[in-house]
Amino acid sequence: MHVPDGFLDVSTSVATGAVAVAGVSLALRGARRELDDRAAPMAGLTAAFVFATQMLNFPVGAGTSGHLLGGALAAVLVGPWTAVLCLSVVLLVQSLLFADGGITALGTNITLMGLVGVVVGWLVFRGLQRLLPKRVGLVPAIAAVAAFVSVPVTALAFVGLYAVGGQAPVPLDTLAVAMLGWHSVIGVGEAAITGLVVGSVVSVRPDLVHGARRVLAARTLEVRTAPESAPARVDGAA
């Protein structure tokens, strides 16, 4: 969903640039709460993984393809603030070196995929996590649903920006319907990849998944209050 230069007018691009700068600045502060010595390499790995996966366009029919946006995935893996930084690094590298997404459109792309995608993905994830049972096994499925929702919402955000600063006159309802339709299909791919990746990490190192931390904490409590689970686990002392 990389926006090239020229789709949006200068004032809209300047505005999204300002939004992106503000968002990244906030994220640089907020990420401090999520990152410690152990999580810092995870930030690098997540960004590299999102970059790699964004190269893998999958066909969605009628000569169209889609690729992972990765906002929800990154938010669940490393936390929303760090995810904003990861996506921003990916988009910066893509724009400067790979000519994928315009330079004047970098703010737009960070706003859409780095902020809207991450924030929507994380809010849906946390909302569902609150409603559903606190089970580690549910984390990948919840992440998948959050990932699905994040894609059409990000597409709709683009339509919003286009309504304000689109350079070519296009009927907005047609644009909105087409963007929502295609990106709902792409969202299915986003959900599948996100569920698969989060599921893989949860199965080997659930403690490295930011979005599983609260659930893991709840599980530890359960074990300790169970009447007959006699074997004293090391983490009981923590």
Binding site: G6, R38, G44, L85
Partner: protein, 115 residues
């Protein structure tokens, strides 16, 4: 699995995805491009200033073989992204200084998830 092993395995997967699997990715326009073509605003796109760069469009300039050219570009992108994001991660992290406030640091010694 140790954290170091996990991160290294993840990096290998990312390198394989970008360096090898990317060759088999769909070359059709993505959702936004397709919609832009259909609704008629694709022509408003300008060529970006970096369009002539050595890695533009995920091709390595000077390498003719499409598989190698794309794979090399993908590997370089993964390495650069990894270095940048890891650097930022370490720069903004909480130092696990023994000031008693770092409650998360304790979790490093939890056996959670290890076989």
């Amino acid at each position: 699995m140790r954290t170091r092993t996990f991160v290294l395995a993840g990096i290998v997967v990312a390198l394989l995805l970008a360096g090898v699997a990317s060759y088999y990715a769909s070359s059709h326009p993505d959702g936004l491009e397709y919609v832009a073509e259909r609704t008629g605003f694709i022509d408003s796109a300008d060529e970006t200033a970096t369009a002539d760069g050595p890695l533009a469009d995920y091709r390595t300039r000077g390498v003719d073989d499409a598989r190698v050219s794309g794979g090399l570009a993908g590997v370089l992108g993964v390495v650069l992204t990894l270095l940048l994001a890891t650097g930022i991660g370490f720069a903004v992290r909480r130092r696990s200084a023994p000031d008693g406030r770092s409650d998360r640091g304790d979790q490093e010694h939890l056996p959670t998830g290890r076989p």
